[in-house]
């Protein structure tokens, strides 16, 4: 199934029966899933299903009430190797109250538990340039982040996570508000990382243009795992669909003519982001809903 799962014993992320309560409200109830080394896993689910909470709990931002999370085989409370983890939080902007250049923001991704006070060296500058090149933003290294489009800012945040050359990349809704050009650049960057063995866990509203890259999807609903397996586009609507075709790589066969026009505005969900995506993801992704 997953390409990296067999060759190394401990998975990159292991979530065992995890329950999370925030502000007295239970958000996750006994979530169980793993992300094997080198795997690319998409976490799907409707708004409020707990997918963002799960990701934030995995990176230690939210406390685990019961259950266990392990990163690279180490239980979360004693995990210290954060330099191996690149995190892209859900953001609408990379800018703060004071102007900062793309290079400055990406450089902050180099700080690690042991190396946060040290000076910047030549190899660090190289890492920043390399990360920006990966997301296709190297030519903007000296520009203020506030002058970039939403999608470009998102790419800067991804570069910030990549600058530390992580083994595990965790992204919370990296496609939210991302324009067409950036979506393609993002998909290309991700493909390159996956090829080099980076483990990727990303929260998405839908697979969209990333469908080809995803090894496995985990679909959450109301804080529990609804589906965990071969990629499906709309796991909540038709979870059994993926099970019936176990040998299938993903649900968007290439024989569907990708040029099919006239279906760009299928409304897959209520969020404004999705209308943007509907217009930009090619018709291949709408195999299951040709009628709308």
């Amino acid at each position: 199934m997953a390409r990296g799962a067999s060759d190394i014993t401990a998975p990159a992320v292991a979530v065992h029966e995890v329950t999370v309560t925030l502000g007295g409200r239970p958000i996750l109830h006994g979530v169980d899933t793993t992300v094997g080394r080198g795997e690319t896993v998409a976490l799907l689910g409707a708004n409020g299903s707990g997918k963002s909470t799960l990701v934030k709990t995995i990176v230690g931002l939210y406390p685990v009430e019961s259950g266990r999370i392990e990163l690279f085989g180490t239980p979360l409370p004693s995990f210290r190797a954060w330099q191996r983890v690149g995190y892209v939080p859900q953001r609408t902007t990379a800018a703060a109250g004071v102007p900062a250049t793309v290079g400055e923001v990406v450089s902050s991704g180099l700080l690690t538990p042991r190396g946060w006070a040290v000076r910047r060296g030549r190899s660090d500058r190289g890492a920043v340039r390399e990360a920006l090149a990966t997301v296709g933003m190297l030519d903007r290294i000296g520009d203020p982040v506030a002058a970039l489009s939403g999608g470009q800012q998102q790419r800067v945040l991804i570069a910030r996570a990549l600058a530390r050359r992580p083994d595990l990349l965790i992204m919370d809704e990296p496609m939210a508000g991302v324009d067409l050009v950036s979506q393609q650049a993002f998909a290309d960057a991700l493909a390159g990382l996956a090829e080099h063995g980076t483990t990727i866990l990303l929260v998405l509203h839908e697979l969209g243009p990333l469908a080809k890259l995803i090894d496995r999807t985990v679909v959450l609903r109301a804080g529990t795992v609804l589906y965990d397996g071969t990629p499906v586009e709309h796991g909540e609507e038709d979870p059994a669909h993926g099970h019936e075709r176990p040998g299938h790589d993903h649900v968007h066969p290439h024989d569907t003519p990708s040029e099919a026009p006239g279906t760009p505005e299928c409304p897959p969900g209520p969020t404004p982001v999705e209308t943007l995506k509907a217009a930009t993801t090619q018709a291949t992704t709408w195999k299951e809903s040709p009628a709308c």
């Binding site: 953001r91 609408t92 109250g97 250049t101 946060w116 006070a117 508000g177």
Partner: protein
């Protein structure tokens, strides 16, 4: 030479040194406060520091060190409130700040003596003693060591606290350190511009600098230069025109801000046309180049039309 005469006066030498020191230190920490949108933190801690002044006076110890101790404690309390109580946090802060102000004016009044409340509220740089100057200079060096020495980590925390935490930075300690440094800066500035206006020296030079800068490091450097310039020229002005030094410094800083924003507006107007042409070529590209906080450009709503349009040709 005129400058020869004012530099020859001992009290003016002390005033210039104190102004130089606060002109450097206040914008240095202020850059981080503005970055994380806590511009009024210094103002609140100034109120709290006044209670420390009162304690120092009533116990016949040093008002400056009393202010340091109480302001640092206040800063730690602010950090706790910020971290814990999300919803009612601002009300708790109001209690702390106005309690500090009221407590200070009460204690200073009770201490009798010839202590003048106004000199702490609005500063009295010309009456700075040698002892004050040493304390101010030592504290300011501490502020600069923290703000410049730890700038990479502080930048990361202020830019994106969540990211910094996942990166493994000691975010809590850094936040506390930043709050304490702010408190110390408040007491450094207390003698020069007073607790009510010290926050202006933390914020206004930064606001002026960022009209013209693109990078964080440049903003910080320019803010410190503006801070020193405003502080020194304010003291000079107050000597010749017999104006209150604190108010002179702050008004000069605001004047620099106005000039900088007018200059930036003219620059932008010049660049505007070429930027508009570029935006037309690239769909979904940057919107108004004038939005400094990115609010306008990060809004996804203007983008769907562009995306829809580009999906039509197929």
């Amino acid at each position: 030479m005129l400058s020869g005469t004012i530099f020859g006066l001992a009290f003016m030498q002390r005033a210039f040194l104190a102004a130089l020191v606060i002109g450097l230190a206040a914008p240095a920490i202020g850059t981080y406060l503005v970055q994380r949108r806590l511009a009024l933190m210094g103002d609140g801690l100034g109120h709290v520091a006044l209670t420390g002044v009162g304690l120092g006076l009533i116990t016949k110890t040093s008002p400056v060190w009393g202010a340091v101790v109480v302001a640092v404690a206040g800063a730690a309390a602010v950090e706790l409130i910020r971290e814990r109580a999300k919803a009612s946090g601002d009300v708790a802060l109001a209690m702390l700040f106005y309690g500090g102000l009221a407590g200070g004016s009460m204690l200073i009044s009770l201490s009798g003596g010839n202590a003048n409340l106004n000199s702490y509220l609005f500063g009295s740089i010309l009456s700075t003693s040698d002892g004050d100057l040493w304390a101010i200079a030592a504290l300011a060096v501490g502020v600069l060591v923290v703000t410049l020495g730890l700038r990479r980590a502080l930048f990361a925390v202020c830019q994106d606290e969540e990211f910094a935490r996942v990166a493994g930075l000691p975010v809590r300690s850094l936040n506390l350190l930043m709050a304490v440094t702010t408190a110390v800066t408040v007491t450094v500035g207390m003698r020069v511009v007073g607790v009510l206006m010290v926050s202006a020296l933390m914020v206004v030079p930064v606001a002026a600098a960022q009209q013209l800068t693109r990078a964080f490091a440049a903003t910080m450097g320019a803010a410190m230069a503006i801070g020193v310039g405003a502080a020194l020229s304010g003291v000079t002005l107050s000597y010749y025109a017999d104006t209150p030094p604190g108010a002179s410094i702050v008004l000069i800083a605001i004047g620099v801000f106005l000039l900088a924003s007018i200059g930036a507006g003219l620059l932008r107007r010049g660049r505007g046309r070429s930027a508009a042409a570029r935006a037309r070529r690239a769909p979904g590209g940057p919107g108004a180049p004038g939005a400094p906080d990115g609010a306008a450009v990060s809004d996804p709503r203007p983008q769907p039309p562009a995306a829809t349009a580009s999906s039509l040709p197929q």
